[in-house]
Assembly symmetry: C2
Homo-oligomer: 245 residues x 2
């Protein structure tokens, strides 16, 4: 399983992914699920992947191959983020055409979902969620974030605190708390985490950190958030049954 | 969809269910999913259901029919909660034998999950989760609660605050907060709620309330919990990137 979240804010973009990959609980590994493409001063793109690892890795390799070829459509040459999302969708369809029938013969679904976010000079930062079929949707002011993988445990806190106008550091804090709740409830989501912050119109990555068990800030969030929740819970009154009909 | 939770505590039992049933988003109705069987002074049992409504209703009707027949195995005559769980599982299998093939012909899975909890004189309160196949598991001191239906949004808060020694009122408060998070995130879970409290060795239901939009306590929890979470979130420090490697 996987948990990845991307937020598209007025101030820029926040990306967070875990790195656990498992085929059953007895085959757990750590793989990077966040891939950054940067041409400083001109464009920054970040791709996060969930689903079948062989499919995700094939997409990333195909994107890199096309970049290296320096001709045809590639992430360096697309004119805007909409074209970039279409390009990633096309790569996914190329892999579908190659692999889906063989996977199906073994009873394996073509299971992949991707988040692509970034900014290309001339337009604001944008974030897309790309489905296995290669189609995609874009984050809007009303729904400024996307999640892929095990999204439910970590959704309530984002819904409560993140809006388009949330600052980048505060949004990163929220993404980390959302991840902490997910890790607590789902064994198949795990450290280390990949956290990437992009400030609007910077055209270079502001922060990109791998967060592991020894990261003091994440440890503090983990301990403090649990304690705050228990305190908030204790502060609420118990039901008084006399007031129930 | 549905969200139901049952907690098996030293002090007794807490049951909470929503009442929304939908076949697609354009066909939403309200049905009771919590069914209580009580023989005061001797036994109390509560059944909550999730999954295909026709299957859940058939199980409840079959259980009541067997009760009315006053012979053979029924919920009034089983000797302990293990036998009660087996009886409910058998009723589910009876309905499977009757309906599963016909449902399959229409591409409908035999989808049902039940929670049965209660106390019969001579043993402590017990809670079981019964699967569509009629097999079941029992809550233990380490895992004192079960959820059915849309369980993920409401799980983190229960994991953080409920243990076997939590009091009944506090546990009811936690169940309601867990329900509030679920309703907030999943449109197909909705009011009114059915809340039932059973105090150990009482052999009668302590509290059974239908909680609707106008319930002052639930409204207070809803508003206050959201505000507490936002305050707890605001009180945590933002990341200081200088301390990240």
């Amino acid at each position: 399983m996987t948990y990845c979240v991307a937020m598209c804010l007025d101030a820029g973009l926040v990306f967070l992914s875990d790195s656990r990959t498992n085929a059953g609980v007895d085959h757990i590994n750590s793989f990077r699920k966040l891939h950054a493409f940067e041409r400083q001063g001109e464009r920054v793109m970040v791709l996060m992947t969930a689903g079948n690892l062989s499919i995700s890795q094939s997409v990333v390799n195909l994107l890199r191959e096309k970049l290296a070829a320096k001709k045809g459509v590639n992430l360096d040459r697309v004119k805007n983020m909409f074209e970039a999302a279409r390009h990633v969708g096309d790569c996914l369809r190329e892999i579908y055409a190659r692999d889906a029938a063989a996977l199906k013969a073994f009873g394996i679904d073509f299971n992949a979902s991707l988040i692509l976010g970034g900014q290309i000079k001339g337009e604001p930062p944008r974030v897309f969620m790309i489905y296995a079929a290669g189609n995609f949707i874009e984050a809007t002011p009303e729904t400024p974030y996307f999640q892929i993988g095990e999204s439910k445990y970590g959704k309530p806190i984002i819904d409560r605190v993140v809006t388009r106008s949330t600052g980048l550091d505060e949004a990163a804090k929220c993404a980390l708390i959302s991840m902490d709740s997910t890790i607590r409830s789902n064994l198949s989501v795990g450290l280390p985490l990949d956290l990437l912050i992009y400030a609007r119109d910077a055209f270079r990555i502001a922060e990109h950190h791998v967060i592991d068990h020894d990261n003091a800030y994440f440890k503090h969030l983990h301990a403090q958030w649990g304690q705050s929740l228990r305190q908030a819970f204790a502060a609420l009154p118990d039901p008084d049954w006399r007031h129930f009909q």
